[in-house]
Every structure is written in C-alpha cells, then in structure tokens.
Amino acid sequence: MSGTVNELPRVAFFDFTSCEGCQLTVLDALQTHPELLKVVNIVEFREASSARSEDYQIAFIEGSCTRPGDEERLRKIRETAVYVIALGACAHLGGINAIRNRQPLLDVRQYVYGDKAEWYDTYPARAIDQVIQVDAVIPGCPIDRDEFVRVVTVLLQGRQPKLPDYPMCIECKLHENICVYERGQVCLGPITRAGCNAICPAYGYGCEGCRGLVSAPNMESFQEVLAQHGLSQAEIDEKLSLFLTNQTLLEKELVHG
C-alpha cells in the first residue's frame, strides 16, 4: 500500500463551526500512529501545515454548518472528494452548536452579538449530512483516536467503516464501572452509541451522548427513567439537547408539530 508520497491517497481536513478539538486529536493520532503518514498524503490540514490543495480524494470535515455561506464551501468539497467523512459530534450531529436550535434565533444572536446581531447571518446548526452526502462518520466530542485510525484503515481497503451500533452501557459494564445511576446521577449511556470505551462513566461522570443515538433507542422508557431519577421535563429536554438536539428535539417537533 505504501509508495512514494505522490502515489498515496490525498487527504484534506476542513473545519466549519467547531472548536477544532477533533483535528487536534488527529494531530495526536499522527504522533501515536506515525505509520499513518506512510499510507496517506495529507495535502491540507490547518492544524499542522500551511499547505493548501484543491486536489484530494479523502476529505475530513470537522464542525457543523451554521451559515448560508458554509453551504457552497461544503458542496465544493463534496464535488472534489471521493470520500467525505464527518469528523466529530459537530459534523456528525450539529454538536453543541445545535443547542441554539431550540431557541428563537434572533434571541440567540442578540445574546451573543448584542446590538451587532443583525450583522451575522447565522442560522440553525446542522450536521454535515443535512447539507451534503457524507460517506462515513467518526462520532464523539472529541473523536476517539483509535477509532480514527480504524476508519482510515478500513477506507484505504475500500470498505465502508462500521461503527458500533449498541449502547455505551455494554462497554461500561466491560470496564466494571459502577453504574452512574447507582451513584445517584443520570447518564445517557443506555441510548448512546458505544465506541468511546465509556470514558466519562469511567471517571465518574454520566454520559452526555456526544456519539449520538444508537439505532432504535427506547426514548419513551428512557425518559421515564430520567424522570424517576428526579429530572423535570425541562431538565430532560436539556439533557437531551446538549449533543442530541437534532436527533431528538427537532424530531419531536416535527412529529408532534
């Protein structure tokens, strides 16, 4: 697979509305897995290089689409790249940027930009696949570096990367963490896609759902569990909107008007 740099698949990284923490994790992965540089040619990566390129096969996109102006840039990436991969919770779900989607947008803009609110043409935060077709997703806030390496490996084999599609509780049990609920707190583990090695519960903190919902979660029963553990409906909605606004609340609004 490895060859001269010019023969290697050309990879580019792009960022939209995000903290760029996922790209920092990629940078970290390049240090722990330097062999990555033997199999790909990174032609654009703002975190590590000032090089720019309009010729690439694999595009990693961090961040969510939050402005009309983002759309054209996204479409251009889609036209150029063979594979487009959403990198991290913002690109995958809209991320924490989507918290604002629950509130009147003008209020949000005024809160952030004050009397300059009108100057900014920001709109509800969307996941990248709500704008262009995405071929694969690496979830998480930030991404898991081992998962990043796995996804790259599989992509280079021409296969579709497969994410775990079971809840985080399964991994949490393997680590023999004490259940966060037994410690009197709540945790989104039962509805959240695994793959993070249950890192938050391992450190005693409840899952916030940054990897998104697992397929077919039982939301109704889960919300009852949250209520039994003392959360009001407003607190439940808040809990489900840190990372999951676009997956839960908007869906609910669409369904229930």
Partner: protein
C-alpha cells in the same frame, strides 16, 4: 465423592502466596463500591464474604475480546493464537461454577473450541459457600445452584476459625498439596452440618413454581402479552447480557493493519439485545422488536440452552435483575408468566388449543424444538456450536 479437609483461616495468606508461585490468582476485590474479580497479590485484598461481583468471572474463561488467529495478507502465514495463563479463580460462587459447567458443554459439543479448551485446562476453580442470598434478585436456591460443594476443583465453607475444604478433582488436590491443610476429623461433621443447615434457613424460594416447570412455562408462555410489556420497558441497553455468567454469543471480525500486510481475527462478546444482533443480508432483522429480543433472552436461558446442552442457561445469580434500570428481573417476569398461566387455567374450563410459535415451527419442520436455537445461528455470528 469428594475428599474433605480443613484449612485454618490463618493459613490463607501463606496458601495464596504459594499459589502465586505457580499461578495468576484472581479473587473478589472491592472497587468503587462494588466487587470485581481481579488479580490479587495477598489474601487480605480479597473480600471472600462479597455479595456478588459486577461481572462474573466468565471473563477469564471467555474474554470479552480475544485474538483467534493472525495472518499475513499475502497468505504466507496463518497461525492460530492460543493464549493461556495458569490461573486460580479464588472465591467463585457456586452459581458461577455452574455457569462454567455450561460453558464446558457449549465449547466441547460438536466442534470443540481449541481456544476455550486450552484456557479452561489452565483454570483452577476454588469456590466458596454463600451463607445468605447476595441480592434481592438472586434466586440461586430455586435454580439449584446455591449449594454445590462438589462442582469446583476445591470448595471452601467458612465454619468459623477454619474452612472446610471439599477436594473434588486432581486439579484441586494439586492446589492443596504443600499447604497447611489438615484432616477433616469426625468432630468437624456436626459443625459443618450446623453451618449448612443455618445457611439453608437463610435462603427462601423466590419463584412461585419449581425449576422443573420452567421449560414448559416458557414454551406455553411464548405468545403471552407479557412480553410486550417487557419490551415496552426495555431500554435495550444490553447490560443484562453483559453481566450474565452464561451469555456466550459472540461476533467475529477480521482486521488488517494500516499498511495492509498483517491481519488478525478477533472474537468479541455480542448481545442479543442489540438491534443489529439478528440483522442479516438485505437489511432483514428477524428480532427487530424489543419484545422479541427480551423474549428470546428468557427463552434461551430457561429453555433453548437446556434443549441444546442439557443444562439450563440461567444459574439464578440475579445480576441481570440488579443491573436493569427498568426493573426487568427474572423473578418478576417468570412469576408473572406463571401467575398468568395459572389464572388462565382456573378461568377456562376448556383447555385452549391455540398453537404457540414453537409448536408451529417444530411441526412444520418435522424436527425437534431445538430448531429455535439453530435458527439464530444462521447469521453465522451468534451462538457457538
């Protein structure tokens, strides 16, 4: 018939030290307010009076993830990976020993699993008698696993200053050789009997029926509306299968390295509660409903495994009930099923002739009801045979 000995509690530490010269010794240890099986260096690290552990010691016999073979992608090299480490599991409860018996059956029947067999040969079990039910969800007494002094290689019963030791196998004998074990004299018998009698008083029956009725109960209850209620509640978090000492389903995957020169095949625990577990080619899912997945779990524990391996798939440890956030516990579900059937019997003068799913499949296929267990193997990644 086991050979009886005694060993003073004061000798425990020395015994563990001697074992550690030959083995990795694992035992129940406290961790973050619960208990886990982990390696120990001294006997004092163990809490032998632990109620139960978060995860069963199954992880030593059947690791959550193991490499089965390694290969070069050009085909020049392919090698099975058999990794074992002589291990003593100290202080395993008898319910978990019973689960080990089931695993021995599962991995030996038909195509014997060389990875399991090699590991199993290197594992020595020292069980300990439970003196009281560990949790409100345990029903080992109903399942016949609360008192099995002859199941492990060695079995310890706490009789005060001493442990009475059942020496059951040559492996067990080898663990006791060169220790401070003393003979079990006739004086010990009444003391031992008294301890066991007192223990038995502490265990009450928690099921409304006999374990011998369990298979029929599940067979007749296959179409019960109760499963829908269970499915409505179930979070499909999969914790019940993770903590189960008898869950054995796994997934297999091949993974190549970044440079695509070497690869390995790994076996990872799977859960029948995951949505994708019964997903097959073409996007078909033959247990898409939560209700179907939970029912399958109960059927497998209480019926299918017995059909296939001659041992029940539940040992009554109660871990699944303790871990469930929506209180789906075997005691609750099975008793409700029993009461439902019992009530039906009283109500109806004429016996109902409605056929269960099981009757239909068994008749149409013209083979034994074991078909069920077979059906879920068809996606090639579930139950080992």
């Amino acid at each position: 018939m086991s050979n009886l000995k005694t060993i003073p509690k004061t000798a425990l530490n020395e015994w563990v030290q001697r074992l550690r010269r030959r083995f990795r010794v694992v035992g129940p240890r406290p961790k973050n307010g619960q208990f886990v099986f982990a390696e120990i260096e001294t006997a004092v690290e163990m809490a032998l009076d632990y109620p139960t552990t978060c995860m069963p010691p199954k992880k030593y016999l059947f690791p959550p993830q193991e490499t089965l073979l390694r290969y070069h992608l050009d085909g020049s090299h392919i090698q099975a990976v058999i990794e074992t480490e002589p291990t003593v599991i100290f202080g395993i409860h008898t319910c978990d020993v019973q689960a080990t018996r089931l695993f021995d059956q599962i991995f030996s029947q038909g195509f014997a699993d060389q990875h399991y067999r090699a590991r199993r040969e290197d594992i020595y079990l020292i069980s300990i008698e439970c003196m009281a039910p560990c949790t409100e969800h345990a029903y080992c007494h109903d399942m016949g696993t609360s008192h099995l002094p002859e199941a492990a290689d060695l079995h310890l019963t706490d009789v005060g200053q001493m442990y009475v030791v059942h020496v059951n196998t040559p492996k067990g004998e080898s663990l006791l050789a060169d220790t401070l074990a003393e003979p079990f004299t006739a004086d010990w018998q009444p003391i031992y009997d008294r301890v066991i009698a007192k223990k038995m008083e502490a265990f009450e029956k928690r099921l409304d029926f006999e374990v011998t009725e369990l298979k029929e109960l599940l067979r007749d209850g296959y179409s019960s509306p109760l499963w829908q209620d269970v499915g409505d509640d179930c979070l499909v978090c999969g914790m019940c299968t993770q903590v189960c000492p008898t869950c054995v389903c796994f997934n297999m995957e091949d993974e190549a390295d970044l440079t695509q020169t070497e690869g390995q095949r790994t076996r990872t625990w799977d859960s029948c509660q995951a949505t994708t577990f019964a997903l097959v080619a073409g996007g078909h899912n033959f247990r898409e409903a939560r209700m179907a997945r939970q029912r399958h779990r109960f059927m497998r524990k209480g019926k299918y495994m017995h059909d296939a391996y001659g041992l029940l798939g539940c040992v009554g440890c109660g871990r699944c009930g303790s871990t469930c956030l929506v209180n789906i516990t075997p005691i609750k579900v099975l008793n409700a099923l029993y009461q439902e059937q019992h009530a039906e019997q009283i109500e109806s003068d004429v016996p109902e002739m409605e056929l269960s799913y099981e009757d239909v499949t068994a008749r149409s296929a013209g083979v034994a009801v074991d078909l069920h267990a077979g059906a879920c193997e068809n996606n090639g990644r579930t139950h080992p045979h």
